[in-house]
């Protein structure tokens, strides 16, 4: 478990990091919490010649509230999101999702930005970020841009992020009082990652579903919004029958993964069962 040799930079300002990225191009990798990157380096699946550790850049840290939004710095750790009062009060779904990630050490080191940028198909955050319809703030040589979560994830370990860009913050709208979120996860027994993870954000009007967003991770090579489920349930009464019928659409149009941990048919079944249970929990 010995990585290859590399040059190490620890810039203290975002601009500095961006220009280092420009300078070293393909050879460079950004290091955040290191809990995805370092394991791949130790196995020599990645051998970056240059490491740009963004951990010293203060502007990428912290959680604040502005204009009905939570603004979360990319370097915010899973543990900070799990335990911050502001998160627990305003968007408890985020805290709940964080608590399902890895173990204490992983949550203390791993970051929200790192997880999203890495785009592991079994990572937890993407489900919640999709269901919350978050905006991702990205800085690059040409300045800042914003991408919707639904446009960010593009495939297996693939995102909209350019090689010379840095994810700086995640903006999440604070849901109103009639809106509830839930994250339900089945852990892959060895790694603890999601065999299936379903995040639901549901707004009720009386006993009907005014709107619902369902983000699913672990099932396909990229996390996705289960739009079939959403359109089936929106405007419908929240009965057990309607919820179950909607959940049946959890993998419509999706090619489920198959590996030694779960067959395609089993993953499809899990997505449906966990979607149903997550909606039931959010609707209760």
């Amino acid at each position: 478990m010995i990585p290859g040799s590399f040059e190490y930079f620890a810039p203290t300002a975002l601009d500095e990091a961006l220009s280092l990225l420009q300078e070293h191009g393909d050879d460079a990798k950004v290091l955040a919490g290191g809990h995805s990157l370092i394991p791949t380096m130790k196995l020599r699946l990645a051998e970056p010649a240059v490491i740009i550790d963004i951990g010293q850049i203060g502007s990428l840290r912290g959680i604040s509230e502005s204009d009905d939004k939570l603004v979360i710095g990319a370097l915010t750790t899973h543990h900070e999101l799990e335990s911050a009062d502001l998160v627990q009060q305003r968007v408890p779904l985020l805290a709940q999702t964080a608590s399902e990630i890895g173990d204490v050490q992983v949550r203390n080191k791993g970051t929200l930005g790192g997880s999203l940028a890495h785009a592991d198909p079994a990572a937890d955050w993407p489900a919640a970020i999709l269901a919350l319809d978050a905006d991702l703030q990205i800085a690059g040589p040409d300045g800042q841009r914003t991408v919707k979560a639904t446009n960010f994830f593009q495939g297996l370990y693939e995102t909209d992020l350019g090689e010379d860009e840095i994810l700086t913050a995640i903006h999440v709208s604070i849901p109103d009082a009639d809106t509830k979120g839930t994250y339900l996860k089945m852990h892959q027994v060895a790694s603890g990652f999601a065999l299936t993870g379903v995040a639901v954000v549901l707004t009720k009007a009386g006993d009907t579903c005014q709107s619902v967003a369902v983000g699913i991770t672990g099932v396909s090579d990229a996390p996705y919004r289960a739009s079939g489920v959403e359109s089936e349930l929106t405007g419908a009464a929240l009965t057990a029958g309607n919820i179950a019928a909607a959940a049946e659409k959890a993998v419509d149009g999706i090619t489920a993964l198959e590996d030694i941990h779960a067959s395609q048919a089993y993953r499809q079944n899990l997505a449906k069962v966990y979607t149903r249970r997550a909606i039931e929990a959010a609707a209760s």
Binding site: M1, I2, G4, S5, L43, M186, V189, A190, S191, F193, I260, H261, A262, S263, A265, Y266, N269, L270, V273
Partner: protein
């Protein structure tokens, strides 16, 4: 007087492990922590292919990397010998097993070349510069296919992929199967497991050219055997070889071996006259430290309507892997011996076939051959019960031997030392409240919920063992020495690596001499300090090594009693050893301090005639038989039929391991054993793909049970002392592993019986459980 101590103060006391404070505080030294000045670092280039011809190896670029000292291949090994196969079997085909591959590689991870550099990082970098030209051959990975006539061959000159066959026959199975009311047949896969000791392997070797001595620090369970073997393999006379097993972070059988890395690192240290170190990476540990289990079983059982089981027939394919490690060929034979479990089954027929495949060698892993046997019989007994419509509890009582029948010779030729299977089983049934559970199960089924109750009653073979049955001898040694200040040094030939004998052995010696336990030290794992010994495995250390120690202590005590009697002008037979004194029984003012007698024994000014100075004795103990622990495990699970997830609600076990020296340590062994046993049932499994690549080569894909994935254990005991050793102990290292695997599977199958599910292949992942329900639904 100086007979074996009856249980007194320390025996049976729940003392915390004396090893733990230093381990928890990081004050201890594992191989990798040992730093010698000028140490060079070794790394191994390993085969990426399961089966390939090596056309050429080019090490020139690696040799040029600054910091690289040497790069060697098999061509550079000179007179170095091969890896020994420790267990001969009639007609065994033994392939050559060179420490570095010669001409052909036969499993992924097989060492091909070794680099030595001034730093571990440089050694690792140099591996990428070695070029090997391979020509890939078809890989043999499937057991059933490997024995087919047209299978490709692993060793061309063997003619087939069969390393050995070992038949076992007692009674008349054909008649039993023909005459029985029912024949129950089932195929089982006892999947391959990866032991995963917390500390990976490691070797540090130092050769002093002036003295001609080789010292090897290795993370091993068998330092003495390793010393003898290394001396023969690397050609250093045995008196000049010393092997030290410092702190060893677990083994579970995986370090009961002689490995290529131990040989190559020793050879390099001799060649370079510099200390050379290799620390195994976790990825190497997955691919190239021995694996366990891996059998396919075809089993038929004859059962009558009243539940009597009259015969068992098994064809067993045991995956040996690509080459033999020390006990690769021995382990499957233990499955043969234990096939009838704790039942009286008169007719037995086994055809054991050892099969060579392009995978890492299998060898001893906690339980080693017995979990496989227990799995076969315990699953078959449940299937037989369901065939004749009996409760799985009743069929077990029906087939148990009676307590008065022990010692009991069973058809496979071994003699169970002592047992009372009814007592432990009844106790477990009481604790779990079996009848109430069955009622609850019936109720929940009405609600569409699937509760399952799983039973496993087992007997196993421990305390290994009489030398006649053990390749390297089955005895054990100990030296007990009372020092001039009255402190006691115990040297033992066993080599604990987590079992806690520094505590339990000290308890026994403290009792024997009536001294404080802190006055006793137990020293192990250094062939330069201890008398020759066999090592720690097969739940033998206490039953065999402990006995050697207690007998040696008794001899010292007898001598000390003579000295004390001389001082006190008393009869040695009237003396007792208590609270740091030696006193005349019944007249406590006639007493002398233990330490004073110890000093007198060494200054030797006032010793009785016809005695010699000093207080030291060594005993080599040869056991007359194995010991046979037994017990009953019961699990209660609920299965989520929508997802196949299993919730373990209760886990009750009543183990009978003979007399108990320290209940805390026994509980620890039982807990850890069950964790690994249910790991096999529910989580673990080494998966090779068709090309022989290990798909479960890291903890991301290979699921050892974590603390949150094991239930609360409700442990209890019955005590049936073993007649084989004076302490009446049996052994507890493997009981949990052996009892728990079939227990968990029986519970899940029981839960799903309303669907008609009869069997599910291990590990019972949620996916497999869900699939079994789908398949049963049709």
């Amino acid at each position: 007087m100086a007979t074996i101590a009856a249980p007194t103060r320390m025996m049976g006391a729940p003392i915390k492990r004396r090893e733990d404070p230093r381990l928890i505080q990081g004050l201890s030294h594992y191989v990798d922590d040992i730093k010698l000045v000028g140490t060079l670092h070794c790394a191994f280039l390993r085969s990426d292919y399961a089966h390939a011809v090596i056309n050429s190896i080019d090490t020139s670029a690696a040799k040029e990397l600054p910091g690289v000292v040497t790069v060697i291949t098999a061509d550079d090994l000179g007179e170095v010998g091969g890896i020994p196969c420790g267990a001969e079997i009639p007609d065994l085909k033994v392939p050559d097993h060179p420490p570095l591959a010669v001409g052909r590689v036969r499993f992924v991870g097989e060492p091909v070349a070794a680099v030595v550099a001034t730093e571990a990082y440089i050694a690792r970098d140099a591996l990428d510069l070695i070029e090997v030209d391979y020509e890939e051959l078809p890989a043999i990975t499937d057991l059933d296919k490997a024995v087919e006539a047209d299978s490709p061959l692993i060793y061309d000159d063997f003619g087939d992929n069969i390393g050995f066959t070992m038949p076992l026959e007692a009674g008349d199975v054909d008649a039993a199967l023909a005459e029985a009311d029912h024949v129950v047949s089932q195929r089982f896969v006892n999947q391959r497991l990866i032991p995963n000791a917390m500390e990976t392997r490691g070797v540090l070797a130092e050769y002093l050219p002036g003295e001609g001595t080789l010292t090897v620090w290795s993370s091993t369970q068998v330092p003495h055997i390793l010393k003898t073997q290394l001396s023969l393999i690397v050609n250093v006379p045995e008196q000049k070889v010393r092997v030290i097993a410092p702190e060893v972070g677990g083994g579970f059988g995986s370090k009961l071996n002689v490995y290529p890395e131990e040989v190559v690192v020793s050879h390099l240290a001799i060649q370079l006259c510099k200390p050379v170190k290799w620390t195994e990476k976790r990825t190497e540990n997955f691919t190239t430290t021995i694996h366990g289990r891996d059998q396919v079983n075809y089993v038929d059982v004859a059962v009558n309507n009243d539940g009597t089981i009259t015969g068992i027939r098994a064809r067993i394919l045991a995956d040996l892997g690509a080459s033999y490690q020390l006990l690769t060929t021995l382990i499957p034979t233990l499955t043969n011996l234990m096939i009838v479990g704790c039942y009286k089954i008169p007719n037995v027929q086994i055809e054991m076939v050892g099969v060579l495949t392009n995978k890492m060698a299998t060898d001893a892993y906690r339980g080693a051959g017995r979990p496989e046997a227990t799995y076969i019989i315990e699953r078959m007994v449940d299937l037989a019960a369901s065939t004749v419509g009996m409760d799985p509890k009743d069929i077990r009582f029906k087939n148990f031997p009676q307590p008065a029948e022990f010692p009991l010779e069973i058809p496979t030729g071994i003699i169970y030392d002592s047992g009372n299977y009814q007592e432990s089983f009844n106790k477990a049934l009481d604790i779990v409240d079996y009848d109430a559970l069955r009622n609850q199960q019936a109720q929940l089924r009405q609600e569409g919920r699937y509760l399952g109750i799983g039973i496993s009653t087992y007997a196993e073979i421990c305390g290994m063992g009489p030398s006649i049955a053990m390749p390297a001898g089955g005895w054990e040694s100990s030296t007990v020495r009372v020092e001039p200040t009255g402190k006691i040094t115990v040297l033992t030939g066993v080599s604990p690596h987590g079992q806690g004998q520094e505590t339990t052995f000290a308890q026994m010696v403290a009792d024997e001499f009536g001294v404080d336990i802190d006055d006793v030290i137990v020293v192990h794992g250094d062939t330069g300090r201890q008398p020759y010994g066999i090592g720690t495995f097969g739940s033998r250390a206490t039953a065999v090594g402990g006995t050697a120690m207690v007998i040696a202590a008794g001899e010292v005590k007898e001598k000390m009693a003579k000295f004390a009697a001389h001082i006190l002008e008393a009869n040695p037979d009237d003396l007792v050893f208590a609270d740091g004194n030696i006193l005349v029984e019944g007249s406590p003012d006639q007493s002398v301090a233990f330490a004073e007698v110890a000093l007198e024994a060494h200054v030797a000014k006032n010793l009785p005639p016809d005695t010699t100075p000093g207080l030291e004795a060594t005993h080599f103990f040869e056991p007359s038989n194995f010991t046979y622990p037994f017990g009953a495990h019961i699990a209660v699970v609920e299965v989520d039929a929508n997802t196949g997830e299993i919730e373990i609600q209760r886990y009750v076990c009543v183990d009978d391991v003979g007399n108990i020296i320290n209940p805390l340590l026994v509980a620890g062994q039982v807990h850890g054993g069950i964790a690994q046993g249910l790991g096999q049932a529910l989580y673990e499994g080494a998966v090779y793909d068709e090309s022989g690549q290990l798909l479960t080569g890291s903890f991301m894909d290979y699921a050892v049970p974590k603390a949150t994935q094991v239930p609360h254990f409700e442990t209890d005991h019955t005590v049936t002392p073993s007649p084989v050793n004076p302490m009446g102990v049996k052994g507890v290292g493997e009981a949990g592993t052996i009892g728990s695997t079939p227990c968990m599977v029986n519970a899940v199958v029981d839960a799903l019986s309303p669907f008609g599910v009869k069997d599910i292949e291990m590990p019972l992942t949620p996916n497999r459980v869900w699939q079994a329900i789908q398949d049963a639904k049709g």
